[in-house]
């Protein structure tokens, strides 16, 4: 059986891990990032940058890799106050996109979460599992995008090849 999907290995993005009380983190980052999402496991976006609310007092900022240096200069991770934490984690995560009419079928094999539109809308983003690995899952145009720990990227690419063959 084959599925009407394509997948793309997108590689890495500029990623910054932010932790701390929301007021303190917001005060430090100012307008360098989009507004902080008010719902857990949701994202906001502005000027190509995205902010994911991924855990209690925990966010992930994402931007195209070419913006990494500029964003780091704005976020100043090494200078931030001691009650918050900002760490550049761009190298840790490789992103994949699964798109096409049957993208949902592939994700239904890989992921225990109900990713139908009614349960997981366009701005939802969350850690869950993909092929048994911890993965950051969100929607993208015509499908689903997810990030996995980069050392598993070759393995996930092979899983996707087999699932879409």
């Amino acid at each position: 059986m084959s599925y009407d999907v394509t997948f793309q290995r997108c590689g890495i993005s500029a990623l910054f891990d932010l932790k701390g009380a929301v007021d303190a983190v917001e005060a430090w980052v100012g307008d360098a990032l989009p507004d902080f999402p008010d719902r857990p496991n949701y994202r906001t976006g502005k000027d190509g940058k995205e902010l994911f609310f991924i855990g209690r007092d925990h966010w992930l900022a994402r931007a195209p890799l070419e913006q990494e240096v500029a964003l780091e200069a704005r976020l100043k991770p090494t200078d931030c106050p001691v009650d918050i934490s900002i760490v550049r984690v761009s190298d840790t995560t490789t992103f994949f996109r699964v798109t096409g009419p049957d993208a949902g079928e592939i994700l239904a094999i890989a992921c225990p979460l109900d990713l139908h539109d009614s349960m997981f809308d366009a701005e939802a983003v969350t850690y869950t599992e993909v092929f048994g690995l911890k993965a950051l899952v969100m929607r993208c145009k015509d499908g689903i995008e997810f990030g996995v720990e980069q050392s598993f990227a070759d393995m996930i690419e092979e899983y996707l090849s087999r699932a879409t063959a």
Partner: protein, 85 residues
């Protein structure tokens, strides 16, 4: 398959979680406890027939640690019994 209610994420598949053991008694003051009380605290785990409070870690999710009550007779996640915190 259990659906476990994470306080941050809502109900999620049990495969996203790691079990952290039952919630034990509060640590007694080692200077005030008898040897028997101390040994009980260190070695005797709650193992009731009925509701037990358990620690769970949303390891492949938001990373939160939290507790639930699970009924060992039915495997159902239940409300905390009256009078517990």
């Amino acid at each position: 398959m259990l659906l476990i209610p994470c306080p941050f994420c809502g109900k999620r598949n049990e495969s996203e979680f790691i079990y952290g053991g039952p919630v034990g008694a509060d640590r007694p003051d080692p200077n005030a406890a008898t040897d028997q009380e101390w040994v009980e605290y260190l070695t005797v785990m709650p193992n009731p027939l009925g509701p037990v409070q358990e620690n769970w870690w949303h390891a492949r999710g938001c990373g939160d640690w939290f507790t639930i009550w699970r009924d060992t007779r039915t495997h159902d996640i239940v409300e905390a019994p009256d009078g517990t915190k």
